[in-house]
Symmetry: C2
Subunit: 336 residues, 2 copies
């Protein structure tokens, strides 16, 4: 495969879509960022700044924003940077403009409500052709990336050569990309970690301490890796950049929405009130329902997810759930 992609259209003008444009432009590539709102797009082009989602950072005029649905004609790579619950509607809208055979790399984190599909599975179902798919994910706070602070990510595809070409396309001197063939695991890890982030917030809210937080991260990763393996993922993925790594940023960042929501639960609020207080989408809530359902389908024991699910549903109090978790039958740490 040739060295790098050259002409890239990014579908989605949020913070991460914009940062992708910035990274790819820094690598000397041609980039275009699509958004659905023509007024927003006009303003971003005029201001040379994504004034809504990444304010305060001037962008080179060569990073073009567009609201034209027919924006992929000359692209040799398409990046999907659409929030999870909008992936279906955006790709339905753009379907007829997508050139044949061009690879799609998704940077969306999450699982679709109700259908329980991962982002590349949604796009694949909409486009319904045989193009290659990939995902790019990692502990990537967009504000840090655009300030050129060091970061890493993982590019994954069933086609490892595509993953490696993405690795070369996205890597800069401050953004180091690893490759993987586990497209399912990388997407699952990025979604499932939000459930553990809610639990980490609960630990903060009840003041259970650092020993408890550490236990939660370790045992949380153990249970999401069990589900991942049952779904065909490589368990290592969950202990890498897109599992453990992303979980750490999500859990230590005081501003994270999932963690903040959990903290409100830990302080005694019910889920409805805590959601209102958080004032924005808490992806971990629908993800928790999805994971609870998946674990039942796959017959995987996930005691932490079950506890968070029951707390969100108002079926159990936080202290009771914690007591239940601490007094389960004694186990081996790992089953071989």
């Amino acid at each position: 495969m040739s060295n790098k992609f050259k002409n890239i259209t990014i579908i989605g003008d949020g913070a991460m879509g914009t940062v992708c444009g910035f990274l790819l432009f820094s690598n000397g590539l041609n980039v275009r960022v699509w958004g659905h709102d023509a007024e927003d797009i006009a303003e971003f082009n005029r201001a040379r700044e994504n004034t809504h989602y990444l304010p305060g950072y001037k962008l080179d005029p060569a990073i073009r924003f567009t609201a034209d649905d027919d924006c992929m004609a000359d692209a040799d790579l398409i990046v999907s940077a659409v929030p999870c619950q909008f992936v279906t509607s955006v790709w339905e809208r753009l379907r007829k403009y997508v050139p044949a055979k061009v690879p799609v790399v998704s940077i969306t984190k999450g699982i679709e409500n109700n259908t329980l599909r991962l982002p590349t599975q949604i796009i694949e179902a909409v486009l319904n052709d045989s193009r290659p798919y990939a995902t790019l994910s990692g502990p990537n706070i967009s504000d840090e990336l655009i300030r050129k602070l060091p970061a890493t990510a993982c590019a994954a595809s069933a086609d490892i050569e595509l993953a490696q070409k993405l690795q070369r396309t996205f890597t800069t001197s401050w953004f180091r990309v690893y490759s993987s063939d586990d497209i399912i695991g990388v997407q699952l890890a990025g979604a499932l970690k939000n459930v553990i982030a809610i639990a980490a917030g609960i630990i903060d809210g009840i003041g259970a301490g650092d020993n408890a937080k550490a236990a939660l991260l370790a045992r949380g990763l153990a249970e999401i890796s069990r589900l991942g393996e049952a779904m065909g993922a490589n368990e290592h993925t969950f202990f890498g950049l897109t599992g453990l790594g992303d979980l750490v940023t999500t859990c230590i960042s005081p501003t994270g929405r999932n963690r903040s929501f959990g903290e409100a639960l830990g302080k005694g609020l019910d889920a409805q009130t805590a959601l209102k207080q958080t004032k924005s989408v808490v992806e971990g809530v629908p993800t928790c329902r999805a994971v609870f359902e998946l674990s039942a389908r796959k017959g995987v024991d996930m005691p932490i997810t079950k506890a968070i699910y029951n707390i969100i549903e108002g079926k159990i109090q936080v202290k009771e759930a914690l007591h239940d978790l601490m007094t389960r039958d004694l186990k081996q740490e790992w089953h071989n």
Copy 2:
């Protein structure tokens, strides 16, 4: 094997030795805590408090402190809670009083300087008989344990039945113990994590951000698990309570000595000055030298450990080391 141990002598009157006494006493077991300094011991018994190492917590008079070397005669379990660099001298001193066949469980974290031995390997060499050994380790800040905040740990022994008996002996309603057969991995994880903690401090010191911290934890665990596997450990151990879990507490706690030392390095101090400023033992420094040597012996690629080693030795500047790490050849995240 019978349900629990009943008469336990703890060798070592530091914070963790004392907390072990507290946990075991809470389980209705007979405990005695040995320390080498008769004056300290007299004061602890008088004050009903470990006034040196765990001040502020009154202890039940049934937790007896003793400076009598002949303190293990009726013990059915011996806990070794001695700082790593004193394990040899303490056990040499006590050797003739150790009753035959009684199991020894070590809660010491670290690798012995120069010999590169793990704590149970040191004791085994000193006692030179065929008794069973085990280790108990985890993310266990002693102040939190004595306040009965929830925590977890892992009891490991090549004899899984011994590990399970320790699990039953130590588990309380707020301290949940898992079992494992990986006594090498659990001890290695507890020692090696201090090297990554220094690196995490460096990230804080140079203000590299949360993306970089997350990358460091993920890639640091990947490399210490590679060394562990080469030394006969189970790689899972490094992604569990005693690896990842303990690393998280070490890296997020602002007071951790290894992290603080690293932060001083990141702010531009040389290792000598940073060590003086930290004012206490920074286990990660000798451990880093040991790990660097072990990785060379075993032929394991450990780029982060090598960078920390070179920074400590004054052979490279922090910014140069970070640049080297970020611009290495591109890799797959996991090699199968």
